[in-house]
Amino acid sequence: MSERQVPTIYPETRFYWDGAKAGKLLLQSCTACDKAYFPPRPFCPACGSRDVEVIEASGKGTLYSYIINQLPAPGYEPPFTVAVVMLEEGVKMVSNILDCPPDPEALILDMPLEVTFEQRGEIAVPQFKPAGGAQ
């Protein structure tokens, strides 16, 4: 089985991946809007202001939506879950759901999740798993 994809990292997103390597899920927040946003960019997508700061997310979220993928992807053994997680900070991001079988019985929408990190070579990839350990 080939290796899982690693992201191509660009200057504007370097901080995010550096944060993941240090075990932190980093977002950005607009000073004027006082609102977090994702994915990274050096300005607020709501108002266009460049006055933004990097914040550390709590790492808590809920299962917002998902599919159970039966199709091949490098480094993945189907079936596997592709989910959208709603973070406590109000932003959505894609993740797999680790420590949880790819089964509708186990994947309950709005169930609490917490961040973890999956190592892919030199890169740490933010991932989510059921909060408080495996279900």
Binding site: R4, Q5, V6, P7, T8, I9, Y10, T13, F38, P39, Y64, S65, Y66, I67, I68, N69, Q70, L71, A73, Y76, P79, F80, V82, V84, K92, M93, V94, S95, N96, P104, L109, D110, V125
Partner: protein, 381 residues
Amino acid sequence: MSRATVAIVGAAETTKLGKVPELSQTGLHADAALNAMADCGLTPADIDGVATGGHDVAEIIQYLGITPTWYDGTSVGGCSFITLVRHAAAAIQQGLCTTVLITHGESGRSNNRSHRPIFPSMQQQEFEAIYGPLVPPSRFTLPVMRKMKDDGLTEEQLAMVAVVQREWAGFHPRATMRDPITVDDVLNSKMIAYPFRLMMCCLVSDGGGALILTSADRAKDFPTKPVYLRGNGGESAEGPMISQMESFSSSKAFRVSGKAAFESAGISHSDVDHLMIYDAFAHLPIYGLEDLGFVGRGEGGAFIAEGNTRPGGKLPLNTNGGGLSYMHSGMYGMYALQESVRQMRGISPAQVEGAKLSVCHGVGGMFSAAATVVMTTEEQW
């Protein structure tokens, strides 16, 4: 009283649809273009505007031997061709050109091509693709579980979309899949990306289509029955990262595009005799019915399951069988347009009797973009 300013005078699909291994993607564009020109008695020398999506428009211009004064290569996925209809109409109204050829060709099945039709998104690759949703069946479907929980959409209702569209495909000799199917057939078909089964996903085909537009004044000089554009249509985009959709139960791009098209045409929903909603997957017609305002939020699944869009129903929808049953090259929007044109010409194998107004709405990418046009048999309204 309003009067049409632009009409579709030429329309054709490729000579063959489905499996066309003997043609390249460029060749599919050309086959469709030549058929559309033959349809209305033109040659490449008569064309002064060219538009296409997912392929270098300049290559199409050179391949067909056209010398244009206007071109447009908008490439936002399958609705590009619907978008290009309204762009072409604007160009004709502004006098930038007189006779526009819009072509689509795609070797989706045989893969006789040098490139895929949609630009890669850097952020989608960096923040979504690394988690494994690499192809449309595992990306386009991501919002649906949320909609099922929030709006009460069911797997059976999704299955009914495929069942009803197969009924329409049965009328079309050129449809790839024509045999009737049941909800059980759909739910028992191969699981692709739960909750989506194979029969809830579009076909993968080779084919193409082309349209020729000119001013409404000139349209009467052509041998074909003119199909008039009513209003300016609509378009919008939300972007290629499906996880960043504002709502998972409704497409903002659909709502903005549809509202613009309806307002510009000055029509209400009861004026619509025939409707096409690009269906790459079974949930698209449901989102489309709701976001265009034909039904309320959360009512689209039941509306289809109750038979309102099937043959004999009050709102004939996707009367060629759609991407699920007719064909789906990858950028299906051209085929939705072709069926709207056939219905307005009165020549569809699944003709809706007396249909005078057709709305054609499409998605681009995976809820990334949208476009809507309104066609009519009437020059004045």
